[in-house]
Structures are given as C-alpha cells and as structure tokens.
C-alpha cells in the first residue's frame, strides 16, 4: 500500500504573535515553528499502515524552504520519501489542496492521511477539498482504523458520539488524537534524516479563492472580577452570574 501523508509547519502554540507590516499576516521573526501536532498522528498512522500492509510512506508539505524541517522529522520517524512543494505564500486552503491533489493524481497513492486540523488556521478544509478534487471518498476525524484489501473501516468522531464509516481505497482520511500514539524518532534516525534527499516541486498554478483583508489581535473585553473564597464571596459570584451576566 502506498501512503501519502500531508503535513504542515505551524507556529508553536506558546509563541507570541505579532502582526507583520502588510497587516494581513504574522511577523515570522522570533516565532518558533513546529510540526503541526495533529500531523504527528497522521505520520504515525501512515507508518502503521505500511507496517501492516507493506508499501511505502511519502510525506509531503506545502511551504517555504524552512518547512523542510518538518519533513526531516517525518523521515526520522520512518517516512521513505519526502516532498516539498515550494510555495512560501500558501495563499489559501484551495491552493494547498490543489498542490496536494496534483501530486496525488501523478503518483496514485492508495491512502492519503492528514492531521485533523492545522493549528494555525484551524479551518478543517484541506482533506475534504483534496478528496473532492480527486473525486475520492474521505473520512474525517478518524479515531480507529482498519484496512482489509481495498476496504477501509473507520470510526469518525462527531459531536456526542462516533460514526462507523466504510469506504473503498483510494481514500482520504484525517487523523484524530487517539488513533495512534506517535513514536519518538531515535537519535541515530534523526542524524540519518539530515542527509536524506527531499524532492522539491514547483507551486501549483491554481490561484487563491479567499483574500485576507486584515489581521488584528483579539480585543480582550474580559471583566477580570476576581473574588476570594469566603462564603460571602462565593454567594457574590453566584449573584453576579445571576443578575449581572444573566447566565444562571
């Protein structure tokens, strides 16, 4: 089974965000970039499927040259092939989805695995967009997975429960926390990954369909009324929630 795992590099959650001079993006200076946390589950899923069914794991990212760092992590974890689509702008989800769908159309993987969401734009769009572009089925937020022959059976987490879903390969899935615990790459593998080749591809010709017109920091309008733990303070809190906030 040939598996394509799509990953992205994102600012670390704990990093401080400052807005760049263009007013529509973040200033990357001083920002620590990491492998998107959900993509660790995606890489692990790709590796497990290879271990169970043979074949190879290709890991792809769309981004600037510095995104090679996350591909090196995937190589250290055990990915066979790494592909960078050179596109520093990554203008919108459609552009990224198009780049992935074009690569998949050329290489015909049996399974494409994503993380459930990327923590930079959190839009949950790309897996289903890629599936629609390829006219493939997809299953999102997968927390359990079995593949027999060309039949994929998965559990998909939804509000208040889980759906059991069946599809035929080739198929797109997005991995949820709990599907597989990601392995830690071993030091010798990290060293070896540094010298492994990374295939580079030109950006897609597709153009963006969404324009970002502005970016702002959220305005905190919190009341910050902090009380002590006496009985009267607890009663005052309940009074405020009842009479001022009107939430109980």
């Amino acid at each position: 089974m040939n598996i394509l795992v799509c990953i992205s590099q994102v600012p670390d959650t704990t990093t401080k965000i400052a807005i760049a001079a263009d007013g529509t993006s973040i200033n990357p200076a001083g920002v620590k970039f990491i492998l998107n946390p959900y993509d660790e589950f995606a890489i692990e899923t790709g590796l497990r499927m290879k271990e169970q069914h043979g074949g190879s794991v290709t890991t792809l990212t769309v981004g600037p040259d510095t995104a090679k760092e996350v591909l090196r992590t995937a190589l250290a974890m055990g990915s066979d092939i790494a592909v960078l689509v050179n596109d520093a702008s990554r203008s919108d989800s459609f552009v990224v989805a198009s780049a992935i769908a074009e690569y998949a159309a050329e290489t015909s993987p049996d399974l494409i695995v994503f993380g459930r969401q990327s923590i930079d734009f959190d839009s949950f769009q790309i897996p289903s967009m890629v599936a629609e572009l390829l006219q493939w089925p997809d299953v999102s937020t997968v927390s359990s997975l079995t593949i027999e022959g060309t039949t994929l059976k998965a559990e998909s987490d939804i509000e208040g429960g889980k759906l059991s879903v069946e599809a035929t390969l080739p198929c797109v899935i997005s991995a949820q926390k709990g599907l597989y615990d990601p392995r830690y790459p071993k030091l010798p593998d990290i060293m070896k990954a540094k010298s492994k080749p990374i295939t580079e591809r030109a950006a897609t010709a597709a153009s963006a369909r969404v324009t970002t017109n502005g970016m702002a920091l959220p305005d905190s309008k919190r009341l910050n009324k902090v009380l002590g733990d006496s009985d009267s303070d607890v009663n005052e809190l309940v009074r405020l929630l009842h009479e001022e906030a009107k939430v109980i």
Binding site: P11, T13, I17, I26, Y38, F94, A97, I119, F121, D122, F124, Q125, P127, S128, M129, E132, Q135, P137, D138, S140, S156, D157, E159, G160, G161, K162, L163, S164, E166, A167, T168, K177, A208, R209, V210, T211, N213, M215, A216, L217, P218, S220, R222, L223, N224, K225, V226, L227, D229, D233, V234, N235, L237, V238, L240, L241, H242, A245, V247, I248
Partner: protein
C-alpha cells in the same frame, strides 16, 4: 443574490446550529431570499425553519444522502444552490459542516470562509471574521469568487424567531450523483452525557482536582447548572477523563455561554479551545494562574472548598 442555508434535523425540528445559521443568513439578507436545504427531514421539521425567517425549504431524501454520504450530500447542495441561484451558502462549522462545506466549495468553485465568528455584507460581497493561531489573532476574509461558502462557529450566532412563520417546503431531487463515497454504517452515541461541543454551559476540571476520584465535585456543579463536563489535556492524558471531554488544542474548541474552569491553570493550549466563550469563570488557588487573565469572574481558592459551596448556591437558584 440569494442565500442558501444547509439544515440538519433534530427531533421534531432542526439542530440549534441550523437555527443559528438561519439567524446569520437573515441578519445579512437585506431583502434577499433565504432558502434552506434540509437532509433526512420531513415537512414538519422543514416548516420549523420558517419560524426563524426562512423563505423556502428544499427537502432532500435520497438514500445516498440519508446514509450521510458526504460526496452525495455536497453534490445535492451544489444542485440546490444552482436551482435557486444562491451565491452564498451557509453551514454550521460542526462535524457535518466541516466535512461537507469544503466539497461544496470545490463543486461551486467558491472560496470557503471557515469557522467564522462575524459575518457582514457589502453589496454582494460577504465579509467574515475568523480566529486564527489558536485565537491569538483574527482575520477578515472574503472570497474573490462568484459564490461564497461559509461555515459558522457554533453557539456564536443567534437565531431570532420572526413574525412570518410560513415556509413553503418542496421535495428537491438532486440531478448529480456520485458513486465513490464513504458510507456511514453505524452511529454510536455517548450515553447520557451532554457533549462539550453542543453544551450551553461547560464546567471543566483540571489537575487541581488531584485525581479522578474527586471529579464528582465538578460533576455536581455541572449538574446544578445543567452543564456538560469538560477536562483539561493534563487530566485526559493522565487517563482520568475520556478524550471526548477534552477542551483545547488536540481536544475540542468550544464557545459556550458560560465556561467554568476548575483547578485549570490555563495553559495556552487550553485557552485556544475556550477563549471565545461568552462568560468565563475561573476557580484556582493560584492567584497568578494564567486562566484569570481571560476570566470575567474568578475565585482564588481551593476547588475542594469552593466547588461544594458554589454548587449549593447555584442549586438554590436553579433548583437542580
């Protein structure tokens, strides 16, 4: 331009998130028609939508759509949009909307504005505001395409009942069908628990609870508020609570009317999942805990002392 709202059935009517989407559509309609397309619904469920200002409602009841095949549902929505000339299509950003809206956007060659928290319209152009970078920034976005597909963050937009309560419901039969689709074969519901992503009030517990055996004090407060129980990543990773209750990065993003954080310090990863809550209440014994910086109301105190007192005081009002 007209607006098409994608609706999901629930009991006798529709899901609350569907009413919210209708509310958002009506708010930007400015005289344009607001149509609905509903799946696996009957006429009375569709008619409910009229009470919130829907002009007409198309009911789709094909076997493919009823077995929740996202590719066929997306094809049906694209057909429905074309049949009423809709150029704006609204979904809730719940699991259904997240799975189907990207497919609809590809079919209609439309820009997709995802997980929006504000919506406005200038002429025919729809503008949206959405949080990015775990809520640490927000962006204003618009589509540069003829059609715009929007998903709306649940529990942010308000559904308002209107005076005109009549909606004409018609059966809509899509002309496009897709052979390669994932098929839903079963649906397991979490028994007896209110899901954090659908709850109006959430009471969450963190490491301050010191062990799973103490979570009943969080559950008791939740019961008095008719709230769902949530959890921080630390206690989920420790195996005290199931992953479905986790709020924050690698868990769920929630926007309840009230979020009560008990014994949660407020790591950035947690704030990422709940900072868009309308009212935030924090109870923590460390007065310097970051959770207090995002809280509207806070109590500096030990959860073991404060929660039982708080539960009793709340119960006196709610009777629960």
């Amino acid at each position: 331009m007209s607006i098409l709202v994608v609706l999901e059935p629930h009991n006798d009517g529709l899901k609350r998130t569907s009413y919210e989407a209708i509310g958002a559509a009506v708010a930007i309609a400015n005289g344009s028609a607001v149509h609905g397309v509903a799946f696996a619904t009957n006429e009375s469920q569709g008619a409910h939508a009229g009470k919130y200002g829907l002009t007409s409602c198309m009911l789709v009841n094909t076997p493919e759509c009823n077995s929740q095949q996202s590719s066929n549902i997306a094809a049906a929505i694209a057909d429905a949009a074309a049949s009423v000339g809709a150029t704006t299509i609204l979904f809730s950003a719940n699991s259904f909307g997240k799975a189907v809206a990207p497919r609809v956007a590809i079919r209609l060659q439309a820009g997709l504005l995802a997980d929006c928290v504000e919506l406005s319209r200038t002429g025919d152009a729809v503008h949206a505001v959405r949080p990015v970078y775990s809520g640490k920034a927000k962006i204003t976005v618009s589509a540069n395409t003829a059609c715009t597909v929007v998903t709306l963050r649940p529990n942010v937009f308000t559904a308002k009942p209107t005076a005109s309560a009549t909606t004409s419901c018609t059966v809509f039969t899509p002309t496009t069908s897709v052979t390669r689709s994932a098929v839903v074969t079963g649906h397991a519901k979490n028994e007896g628990t209110l899901d954090v992503s659908e709850a109006d009030i959430i009471v969450s517990g963190g490491r301050g609870l010191k062990g799973p055996e103490h979570f009943h004090i969080v559950e008791n407060l939740a019961k008095s508020l008719n709230a769902a129980v949530g959890a921080s990543r630390a206690v989920v990773d420790a195996g005290w609570r199931p992953h479905r209750e986790q709020v924050g990065q690698t868990g769920k993003t929630v926007s309840p009317t009230m979020y009560v954080a008990c014994g949660i310090s407020g790591a950035v990863q947690h704030l990422a999942g709940m900072s868009s809550s309308k009212i935030i209440v924090a109870i923590n014994k460390d007065k310097d805990a970051p959770i207090f910086t995002v809280a509207d109301y806070g109590i500096v105190g030990d959860v073991f002392d404060v929660l039982p007192k708080l539960t009793a005081a709340v119960s006196a009002i709610t009777g629960k």
